[in-house]
Amino acid sequence: MTDRRRRLWLGLGALAVAGGVRWWRGQAVDAPSGVAAVLRDNERNAGFARVEGPRAFEFPRDHAAHPAFRHEWWYVTGHLRGDEAREFGFQMTFFRYALTPRAIESPSRWRARDLVLAHFAVTDVAGQRFHHATRRARAALGLAGADEAKPCLWLKDWQLALTDADAGRWRFTAATAHAALTLTLIPTKPLVLQGDAGYSRKSDAPGNASHYYSLPRLAASGELTLNHATQAVTGTAWFDREWGTSALGDGQSGWDWFALQFDDGRELTFYRLRRLDGSPDPHSRGLLIAADGSAQPLAASDVVMTPVRWWRSPRTRIRYPVAWRVEVPRAQLNLTLQSRLDAQEWTGDLRYWEGQVEVRDGNTRLGLGYLEMTGYE
């Protein structure tokens, strides 16, 4: 899962204002002006720390922000069950993007060090509704921030914070105009380090890497308010953390990423980078995590993904493969991923598809997952 969120972040940055530009395509094909191009420019990142090898993670300190690095994200997806076993999916993401590695010297409080962006979505499976909202602000005037000392992110009243470090308990709250969600998250499986002990290399160039780890399964419980009606919800969540400074690799048109939680206690995560010619990039990686928490790395050649059904967005006219066949011969897995709601598309500044999927083997339901797809037209 190397580039995807950095890329996502870059897109958000660029499109926060210059929306409507085909960013996905632009950065890969056109070598465009704008943020993506700027970030290829290493000069631009001068002064920021670089990820050049494994790191001795230290928790809870490393759950908090690392402002010496250019970018960083906290990424939670999950599956909830409410009244009358009604099912929901959710996504809560905080991005931090540093504007400068230097200390701020300005009389203006608006001269901030970081930008903060947040994406929040709730998928109402029974109601077939996708509630989503975006916020962005600079970390200034106390209206938004990514705390360096303690794991706490906020953007006005949206918040994600480690409230009990000993128990590893996280809490988040966010709302759109129609959906509000407050959740407590407690890990039920140990944290897994991606790549080489959390050192995730993006290319052969030194420094082109990130620190990356995941909490593959957390127990979630809280309250969901939909259209002014509140219900208690419980379920599981997946939590990704990554930070770094590195520049982009070239030649990729997009990616398909998923994180699946099987009912039998296993998890499978994989991202397939698509190159411009349509072939999978050899940097594609994944993990198969056993019920006991042990993780088995997956290389590009270990997983075969084949689209089986396409959906065309009525708003953007973009076609997304919303059902997939996923084969992992090494693990004797032959899965079908089926979107639980086709319309889980982000149509704001950024256009991508991220939503809850059901995992099946034939007619047998094996579990639930989140699928993210970018770079489609």
Binding site: G13, A14, A16, V17, A18, G19, G20, V21, S33, G34, V35, V38, L99, T100, S106, P107, S108, R109, W110, R111, A112, L115, R136, A137, R138, L141, G142, L143, K156, D157, W158, A175, A177, G348, D349
Partner: protein, 836 residues
Amino acid sequence: MNLLLLRATARHLIHHPWQLGLALLGIALGVAVVCAVQLTQASARQALQYAQRSLVGPSTHRIEAAEGTLDEQAFAALAQQWPQLSFMPGVSGDVMLADAPSQRLQVIGVDPLTASGTADARLGPGFDLLRFLDTPGAALLNADTAARLGVVHEARLRVRGDDGPVEVTIVGIAPAARDGGPADDMLVMDIASAQELLGMAGHLGAIEVALPAGLRAADLRASLPVGWRLVSNATRLGAAREMTRAFDVNLTALSLLALLVGMFLIYNTSSFLVLQRQPLFARLRALGVSRRELLVALLSEAAVLGLLGCLAGLAIGRGIAGLLLAHVARTINDLYYRAAITEVATSPALLAGIAGLGLAATLAAALPPMLAATRVSVMRVARPGPGIERTPVHGALLVRLAGAAWAVAALLLALPTRALVPGFAALFACLLGAACLVPWLLTRSARALARRPALAPTTLLALRALSMHGQRAGLAAAALMVACATGIAITVMVASFRVSVADWLSTLLRADVYVSLTTRAHDDSRRLATFRRHIDTLPEVAATSAVVRTTARTAAGPISLLAYDLPAAARPGFRFIAGEAAAVWAAWDEDTVMITEPYAWRHGLAPGDSVAIDTAAGPVAFRISAVYRDYASERGSVAMSHRTYLRHFPPRDDAGLGVYAAPGVGAARLEQALRAAMGPAADLRLQSNASLRALSLAVFDQTFAVTDLLRLLALGVAFVGIVSALLAQQMERLTDYALMRALGFRRDELLRVVLSQTLAAGAVAATLAVPVGLVLAVLLIDVINVRSFGWTMNMHVPWTRVLTAWGSAIAAALLAAALPAWRAVHQAPASILRND
């Protein structure tokens, strides 16, 4: 419609290109002036919209401070309190180019992170958000401004704020204002960069917000801190338009005047064209063409002419609008609101409307002569040749018309209204009445003069031409009179205004040096008050006055409130229109107020009445002790003593100080002492009495530059009218002139015949224009100005300029006759008489 008939009538026009050209020019010029003024006004309105348009997203309301700026910490609290609302905070201020101080740029600081998708169009498709955010001094400007300033992407621009020159980096060129980009002359910066540049750290200028459908404005309003207000965009635009309404009406009236003069011209030309073709019409009628068919053919012809003229007029008008725009922009920026008006807004609907007006005017003016044409006797066929038809003036009818017009004017003036439109209608009626008299007066006096015995043949011929063919010359003279009288009226009004303002300034400005804050005033909220205490001890200073300027609330809306701390020397500076000076000053500290003349006019108040102003303890009624003359604000203000102010309102820093020199101390020495007292901060502006006065009058003169331009345009239209009328007359009388030459008239004699007619017409027009102009000036001063602005003024007639206007009208008439006269004289004498 019978096309052959149309061709038969139109061929004549094609064979007389001069006539055709002048007819077109007449229509075109009339339309052009109206078009120019309308376009200019539309441009101003559009610029206002551009200036008020949110750069970062659709907003429905704006949060502003009643006075000064908004505290950004309070904004943060508000944003937390209303997390679901998208607030778009901003700061604004002015800077000038370091290398071209006359070029001012408006700095707008926005938070692009609050931007919605619609911001793309505003800030440009290639907009580099990160550079904008992480580069201090990064700025955008729109493509038009960039082109005008010769600035390219990545250019560095040196601007001067209060702290001296600073470099800004142009990180993007946004679309032009018409394409949805920022307004002209606007530097768009990140809010952090703007705060740094303007020295406004901690302060916000305004906050835009888009209220969702479910949220009531009142709920948000209730949660605003004290001194903040929520204004809907519709209200803001409406308020700005309301401000310039009087100005707009004045300009429109001037432009309609030009159209009126243009209509004279059209009437004149079409009646000539009809007259010339009488034999043709008679022949057509003899051939059985019905009146209706003939009228339709002629009206179609007029419509085609009108359409062509209108199109030309629109093109010319657009050009003139470019000229007007600079003047109007300056006036609006000086007097009303901040908006960079640099581009002529061309709306198809507006242009179509003006073209329609021009066409209607053409048809209306052309209809009477055309109706006359259809009544031409078939017997006219028998008498060939043009030029022997008399065109007498229906004196009695004209006199009756004039009387009726004046009666209407009197009636309109007697209406118990303060509306501007009836005032202008009365003005027009008055002018039209006088215009009706011109042909009558001209023929009457020519006839009377022609009766004198032993006249030279040239004189006799000229006078006879005027009395027997007076219609054409009379119309030209009427148009000239209208233009000249209007010119005189405006000259007298402006001069009266200027003299009154100058007089007011010299009375009011009694201190030797005036002190005000420069825009960098955020460090010390009591800067002027402190400075005042300091300089009061200087030996060079005899006394100081101070004024606090603020906005207060009343039930009728916000008012401008002035609180004066006046030494005895300052008191004679107030000139009272109502109320006794002694009584005013006796009760000065006892909860009384003085109000300015516009305020009294607008609210119908007089001494003895009271003004209820909201204070922290609720509304308090202040008794009005006097109404005083003040040309500073057309909306008016309320003045009270500083002590009264402090009893009811929170203390504020002074807005300005007046410093009186000790006996024997010159202004220069006083200024030097004050400069020394100010210290190195140099955050105060010192202005001598003379320079402040000069500056105020310069602003005044700028404001009226536009009326000068319009006055010249009206005169230009009249000039073309005279050329056209005289040329028409000459064409009609070509045979006469040839005969005169055959009889042995020398060229100079013939020239005398032609020019003396013109001179007579010009002299009558110009001479009548003087009294008419003076009457109009009285109307402008006592009706229009009072109704527009609430200002009274003393009439002051600048006789030299009135005489100049008189002379130039006559000169214009003579100049206009040059071409027709030349043609008359250089015609071969035999050309008309050849029978071979």
